[in-house]
């Protein structure tokens, strides 16, 4: 998976994807996104405020010509709602990309796997490029691909938890098992988490709270940019095997 990342025929130059929720204001959103060096941002679909039309529009701050807009179906707890939001997103936007979420539970925001599979299948048939937010189970990931997913987006930890990559070996197995890109989504709390995800073989990492919730989101966005690049380079370079005992780095020969 060296070189550029491609999902469903769409090419991505950045392996760090950034969410646009939870920022203080649109200006901070814009500055953080710039600092992250990303070319893809996630958004949600919500009712327009028709009472107060003075409110600013997110897309005035994020140029759709510069960034790929990846709409999500966040907040959907059943297949019907997820389909509805995905279709509205496609009509409002300019592409067939959808980050599909079918949430199973409010407290954990873990995906409803059965619903996710069903919705993936329907939307893929409708021509969507489906990027499903899934749990970190390799078999579920495989089933999603069978259902037509263009990539899988396993969680590192619950959304917004900042717990890092809780199940690193599963992420590694998912990467080795599938032929489609793997985008680690959710759980990244700080730069090292993003690096670990990339070292495990993730093709990209999606971060929202880890950046937006930092004391200095713009600085954290820059940190994440370097972290993702470092992790990717390390993955491509191939790390040394872990060993229990030492091996000297300096030669014995020539010692006095």
């Amino acid at each position: 998976m060296s070189g550029k990342l491609k999902i469903g025929g769409v090419e991505f130059s950045s392996r760090l994807w950034v969410g646009t929720g939870k920022y203080k204001d649109f200006d901070e959103t814009r500055r953080a996104i710039e600092a992250s060096g990303t070319d893809v941002v996630t958004v949600s679909v919500r009712r327009v405020n028709i009472i107060d039309r003075k409110s600013e529009n997110l897309l005035d701050f994020i140029d759709p010509k510069k960034y790929k807009i990846l709409p999500n179906t966040a907040g959907c707890y059943n297949v019907e709602d997820a389909l509805r939001y995905a279709r509205l997103a496609r009509e409002a936007g300019i592409s067939d990309l959808v980050k599909l979420e079918v949430i199973g539970d409010e407290r954990t925001l873990f995906p409803d796997v059965c619903g996710l599979l069903k919705a993936t299948e329907i939307l893929a048939k409708e021509g969507f490029i489906v990027l499903p937010y899934s749990n970190d189970d390799p078999i579920t990931a495989q089933r999603l691909v069978d259902a037509g997913a263009a990539c899988v987006m396993p969680l590192g930890a619950p959304i917004g938890s900042g717990l890092g990559i809780r199940n690193p070996y599963n992420i590694k197995i998912i990467r080795e098992l599938l032929d489609v890109p793997v985008v680690l989504d959710a759980g990244v709390g700080t730069a090292s988490d993003a690096t670990v995800a990339m070292e495990l073989g993730a093709d990209a990492v999606l971060i929202n709270t880890g950046i937006a919730g930092a004391d200095d989101p713009v600085k954290m966005a820059a940190a994440m940019k370097h972290a993702v690049e470092a992790g990717r380079l390390a993955y491509e370079a191939g790390r040394i095997p872990r060993k229990l005992y030492a091996t000297a780095s300096s030669p014995i020969e020539g010692m006095l």
Binding site: K22, V45, V48, R53, N72
Partner: protein, 82 residues
């Protein structure tokens, strides 16, 4: 727009009004089409999606899609999200 509408309503037989439910709120409009309705809200077709009675109206049809009394309309756009 609305001042004019209220004035005309006074004549009774001149009833240009239509009651709609838009984004969950009951309101009255003089707009006859989806294009007219989103224009009343100073919205442009770009960046929004519109549903009438749970069915998406394609952007190309905004001008020709006629609204009728009691229609339930949803107008959505993109907001910040993960």
């Amino acid at each position: 727009m609305h001042d004019k509408a209220v004035f005309l309503r006074g004549y009774g037989f001149f009833n240009f009004f239509m009651r709609l439910k838009v984004n969950g709120d009951q309101l009255e409009t003089m707009a006859e089409t989806v294009e007219g309705l989103i224009g009343e809200f100073k919205l442009e077709p770009k960046g929004v999606a519109v549903e009438v009675n749970m069915a998406i109206v394609k952007k190309a049809d905004y001008g020709s899609f006629r609204l009728k009394e009691g229609d339930e309309v949803e107008i959505v756009s993109f907001v910040g999200g993960g």
